[in-house]
Amino acid sequence: MSILVDADSRVLVQGITGGEGTFHTRQMVEYGTNVVAGAVPGKGGQEVDGIPVYDTVGAAAREEDADTSVVFVPPAFAADALLEALDARLDLVVAITEGIPQQDMSRVYRKLRETDTTLIGPNCPGVITPGEAKLGILPGNIFSAGEVGLVSRSGTLTYQVVDNLTQRGIGQTTAVGIGGDPIIGTDFVGILERFEADTRTKAVVMCGEIGGEDEEEAARFISEYMDTPVAGFIAGRTAPPGKRMGHAGAIVSGGGAGTAQSKIDALNDAGVPVGDTPEEVVDHIEDVL
């Protein structure tokens, strides 16, 4: 058991013939991911490392029985690629692309809500089930199989925390980067409920950051529905209002909404300890394992 992806997932890569697409497809295959097809308009009939490429996602999914897509399409064309993936009724779509215009994502999100597809991202490092498969750009070597689920809005912060976990001998069931944009497909709650239902996951690390109300919603969910212990980390305590801290979604509004403190308070109220440093988060996890 694992959430979202395992060694049996049949993965197609949108944008497989681009530089990033080709590079990370190789990394994914090396890690053991079952990449069965690529989709790039006009490149149908070609192959990338023996993986057949199709002109449309529909054809790739149909011919190779793919159920999962990883999207490396450049931002100007990414919304179209995501809509195409939704139209093909895949189970899971992981959007790596950074810099998709918000209004494009707003329209994609509208369509997403009419489908049964799970979208992770965009602007995310991907999903990994250590030892089984990875989708996206996460560096596989820092992960180790184990019992802790991890969900984060940030890529490199995820690596930092995973590294700390792994160095302390604590492995992971699945790690999910949900993405740093204001509008993302699956939020913390969407991942937390999967971890809660996953019998292998004994504890969860949740790395939030300033902006939005996702962490507050997660706190409500944890308090109401979760038995699995959760430890938290919130980045951006020192961020001033009105300034975007890198991620399009990491911004404290002029009115003070989305501050780190409000998120930390909400998590604490839900019984979730929040570490001041990544090491402290690992301490909390060690306490409950």
Binding site: Q102, S106, K111, I137, E279
Partner: protein, 388 residues
């Protein structure tokens, strides 16, 4: 990317939203000439990107040329919350009987836009929202349908806008929404939308924030970007293509990935230091980007020490190390001490390349931050000591 008031008003006016007559001026003489042409009374308004300009003395209402000269002279060149005022907007003063608020923003929780209307315009709407949320009518808009006329009416009548102007306000709200959608705005507001004694409505202020990720398809707005950047260093960051935010502290911070850089800032604070900036070099950065990043942080005169924190995923430690060497080997004397922490992809290769005569290396994030904070405190203390 936030437009200046005069830029936003230009965009609004082009779309048919009524705005007061106005002219931009960068000298006192220009300002007085503009005021004479428009006719008194006029408002003289500092064009800088800060909230609360009025309270801070950045807006003056004047009745004649002499007052205009005095006000322009006072405002031009003033320092408003850290930003230098080099232009003023000279604008017709509108006689009003009522001040409304209308705005459109992205509700990120719902993933769709929301329009807002209130009869409590002219004051800080965030405060109204906090104290009397019922005073703001909110109407979510299906981003695919776009705002329908009935939705605009629902918000306007729902907010209790007087029936005499409700039709015009609805129409302006519809236009604002269309602008919001067509120009890739993330936020757009008119506060106040003034109502005159003749039941005319006119946008007395204009706020428009544009999605930086969509500037590639808004070339005319993209051209306004450099001009809109508030600070020299922020303008430089735009040029280099960095995500950069300037802060007040003295520990310069460079890292890869927004979450990790924010965490580095937080740790600087946690260990008693004060971050000077947020600087994300992004994923997969090459040596040149690293050099540029160091150049940026060194250019900030407040910075006393730098922490360089990289956790490589697609960013490679060897590239980072090469970039650091190149940046520092050009100096006779390293301007500010640099603490480096490299982890992840090719970190070992990076460590071999790195010229450790020029930087201090630490193995963990916590140690690197503590070291940089200590350097900064030492140097700041030395400076203070020297001047004492």
């Amino acid at each position: 990317m936030k437009l200046h008031e005069y830029q936003a008003k230009g965009v609004f006016a082009d779309a048919g939203v009524p705005v007061p007559a106005s002219r931009l001026a960068s000298t006192v003489d220009e300002a007085v000439a503009a005021a004479d042409e428009i006719g008194y009374p006029v408002a003289i308004k500092a064009q800088v990107q800060v909230g609360g300009r009025g309270k801070a003395g950045g807006i003056e209402l004047v009745d004649d040329a002499e007052e205009a000269r005095e006000a322009a002279d006072a405002i031009l060149g003033m320092d408003l919350k850290g930003l230098h005022v080099d232009r003023v907007l000279v604008e017709e003063a509108v006689d009003f009987v009522d001040e409304l608020y209308v705005g459109v923003t992205m509700d990120r929780t719902e993933g769709e836009p929301v329009a807002m209307v209130s009869t409590r315009g002219g004051v800080d709407i965030e405060e109204v929202a906090a104290q009397d949320p019922e005073a703001i009518a909110r109407e979510h808009v299906d981003p695919v349908f776009g705002m329908q006329p009935y939705e605009a009416r629902k918000a306007v009548y729902g907010a209790g806008v007087d029936r005499a102007v409700a039709r015009d306000v609805s129409s302006i709200l519809g236009t604002l929404y269309d602008l919001w959608a067509a120009r890739d705005a993330t936020e757009l507001e008119v506060n106040p939308l003034m109502v005159t004694g003749d039941d005319e409505v006119i946008a007395a202020d204009a706020v428009m924030n544009i999605d930086g990720d969509a500037l590639f398809r808004q070339p005319d707005l993209a051209e306004m970007e450099d001009e809109a950047a508030g600070d020299d260093l922020e303008a430089k960051a735009n040029e280099y293509g960095f995500d950069y935010v300037r802060l007040e502290g003295n520990v310069g911070i460079i890292g890869n990935g927004a979450g990790l850089v924010m965490t580095t800032l937080d740790l600087v604070d946690h260990y008693g230091g004060a971050p000077a900036n947020f600087l994300d070099i992004g994923g997969g950065a090459k040596a040149e980007r690293v050099t540029n990043a160091l150049d940026m942080v060194f250019s900030d005169e407040n910075v006393e020490a730098v922490v360089f924190n990289i956790f490589g995923g697609i960013t490679r430690g060897d590239e980072v190390a090469t970039g650091i060497n190149e940046a520092l080997e050009g100096f006779d004397e390293i301007p500010k001490p640099v603490v480096v922490r490299l982890a992840g992809t090719n970190a070992a290769e990076g460590m071999e390349i790195l010229n450790t005569d020029l930087v201090t290396v630490e193995a963990t994030l916590e140690e690197a931050v503590q070291r940089a904070v200590a350097y900064a405190q030492d140097r700041a203390g030395a400076t203070t000591g020297g001047s004492a």
